[in-house]
Amino acid sequence: MKFTLSEQQEMLKRTARDFLARKCSKKFVKEMEESKTGYSQELWQEMAQLGWLGLAFPEKYGGGNMNFLDLGILLEEMGRVCLPGPFFSTVLLAGLSILDLGTEQQKEEYLPQIAQGKKIFTLALTEPGFCNYQASSIKVKARAENGNYIINGTKLFVPDAHIADYLLCVASTDPENDISIFLIEGEKPGIHCTVLRTLAGDKLCEVILDRVCVPEGYVLGKLNLGWGPVRRIIERAAIGKCCELVGNLQRVLEMTIEYAKQRKQFDRPIGSFQIIQHYCADMATYVDGVRFSTYQAAWMVSRGLPCSREVAIAKAWASQASQQILALAHQIHGAIGVTMEHELHYYTRRAKAAELAFGDATFYRQVLADEIGL
């Protein structure tokens, strides 16, 4: 048991913090939220040069040979500054899935393209009406026809689909009704993509697949993988979101403490009032709980250990605690915290989006109940 970072991890964290502090101001975040694409190609290339896009891939695919825990540290720093863009979709949702499930040929082809910042990927998983992350809720169908697959249906809440060069599309394969994942080029005829207007200004999309034709070689790994690998993708994604949340919440805590020390009422800093102190103590306790449960699960993922139970604990707690932390942060900040002038709203909106992504507290309580045989 060790709760501190290794020297190498500390260095990664410091580099990331310095770089992102320079590159990702709130002004930039706002511009990206308002822009069509939601990311900066220039910054994307810089991140590629830093080796971030391939950080967790093996060297032979142009990667940095680091593990999921290291990636988590990077995600934490990205969460800290509310970094917009397709990093999560490309690297975590798609890149790691290709690494996990792809054929050798697919890995050789796609992973270096990701690492070099040449292609943007995403995962098209959820669908209208989809709320329980079970195989039975996948209605998008892939039908075999003359050596190709014809894919039909609608995907919803697909992040960054509007800029993706490739979609990893989870579909039910006729006639077995099993689950397969297809690599679909974003520009294929029959794909209609609409960016949804969301609370966080992130780019979640509706993707309509209308008789999209995918050649046989574009099945990720093998046909009829089943739900198991998809569940693994969801678990990794949930922990990735938790890592982002750790950064978000840590920054919210720091911001709130700074404010409580500096804001004076009744001739004294409000941080000297016991009720404010207790709110801050509660926030710090929630943050540490989210941090440790998140990194426990991330550590297990990086070791390749089964961790459905730990993921459920982390995402349930992160989802619940983040709401409590932000509620307290708003209460302490007072009225300035509910304006667009102040930074807090970026964190509030993103924490809500992260809570809703890849299973919320209710969902993971249910998962945990199953895991521990309730």
Binding site: K261, G271, H278, C280, A284, D288, W299, I313, R365, L374
Partner: protein
């Protein structure tokens, strides 16, 4: 970061489990809530001592094993999981021994530590007074120098384990003129000292769990002063951090937690989504609390005294323990109120007992409010 245990640590955990399971199989004791503070069982303590499991982290020359705080945490975690009656050695093992080790003279260490490790010297802790609870520094019990002795006069309350302890760890005022934090000293006092009277306090569960102690010209030899005269308050803070840091703050009523989970499962109550979610929520909070406590042990193994970290873990975890009792009562409905002696009492009446007993968890060893003050000021740097 590393969230695993070494092979040796896993082996140690198994060893502790096997020992405890065998004890239960042999009918030597029954698992209980609060066994760490109320489980009086000198024979059990002796058997634990024979395995070298008291003073596990202390140096070998004083009878300890020189092992890590993480390993001690594994040991105490398992003791609590099985509801072992460990009160005879818990306080000496957790904090008094550590205080003697950190601040005591060589003579004190040699006198007490080996006997604690052999399971022969039981300690209670005597800090609070009727007028000094959260504001411990305002304590009034006096210790006045008289030749080679200190003469103690005053009243202590909430003294743990007083009905069987051989010794008390005592804090008293040695300089009434100094500012209140700077006139306090720590002592070891023998329970059979002339002039020392014990009056049991009956707690809300009807248990004789704590005691008032009255000191009427009790003489303590100067060699039983721990550490520096008048520096006691600063030494206490160190000790309180250890007092707050342990797994007993999360698992004091683990036996109830385990029983209600099994009860709900066996009686198919977990088919009710509300009960299912309530229990799952408790299991989530339990794991979060457990990590907060392991973090404290990891801080100690890095050679730092736990500080606001143990205040944080205790504040969080004792609130969890209270929720365990509340949730158990909710699940059991009207049956929850039945005490152990009733033929209708489910899970041995544990819920009713713990519902009442758990009210004290967030008061002992620092109230939740004091602990949050510590996190805010010492941990987060907010102005006091």
């Amino acid at each position: 970061m590393d969230f695993g245990f070494s092979e040796e640590q896993e082996k140690f955990r198994q060893e502790v489990r096997q020992f405890l399971e065998q004890e239960i199989r042999q009918g030597l004791w029954e698992p209980m809530c609060d066994g760490w503070i109320q489980g009086y069982n000198p024979a059990f303590t002796k058997r634990v001592a024979q395995r070298g499991w008291i003073g596990l982290t202390w140096p070998k020359k004083y009878g300890g094993q020189g092992r890590s705080h993480i390993e001690r945490l594994i040991l105490t975690e398992e003791m609590l999981r099985y509801g072992a009656p460990a009160a005879c050695h818990w306080f000496a093992d957790r904090q008094v021994g550590g205080a003697i080790l950190t601040f005591g003279t060589e003579e004190l260490k040699n006198e007490f530590l080996p006997r604690i490790c052999r399971g022969e010297a039981f300690f209670g802790v005597s800090m609070s007074e009727p007028g000094a609870g959260s504001d411990l520094a305002s304590l009034q019990t006096r210790a006045v120098e008289d030749g080679d002795y200190y003469v103690i006069n005053g009243q202590k309350t909430w003294t743990s384990c007083a009905h069987f302890a051989h010794y008390f760890y005592l804090v008293a005022r040695t300089d009434p003129q100094a500012p209140k934090h700077r006139g306090i000293s720590e002592f070891v006092v023998a329970a059979d000292s002339p002039g020392l009277t014990r009056v049991p306090m009956i707690d809300i569960t009807g248990t004789e769990a704590w005691n008032d102690l009255f000191f009427d010209n009790v003489r303590i030899h100067k060699k039983y002063l721990i550490g520096e005269k008048n520096r006691g308050f600063y030494q206490i803070l160190h000790q309180l951090d250890f007092e707050r840091s342990g797994m007993e703050r999360l698992m004091g009523n683990y036996v109830l937690f385990d029983s209600i989970t099994k009860f709900a499962r066996e009686n198919k109550l977990t088919r009710d989504p509300l009960i299912r979610h309530k229990l799952a929520q408790l299991h989530i909070e339990f794991e979060v609390g457990r990590l907060l406590i392991y973090r404290v042990a990891s801080v100690m193994d890095d050679g730092r005294a736990p500080n606001w970290e143990s205040a944080m873990s205790k504040a969080f975890c004792t609130e969890f323990e209270k929720r365990v009792a509340n949730t158990a009562m909710e699940i059991l409905g009207p049956y929850g109120q039945l005490t152990r002696t009733s033929k209708f009492a489910p899970i041995g009446g544990l819920a009713a007992h713990s519902y009442l007993g758990s009210r004290g968890y967030s008061l002992q060893g620092g109230t939740t409010e004091i602990l949050k003050n510590i996190v805010a000021t010492r941990g987060l740097g907010l102005p006091s």
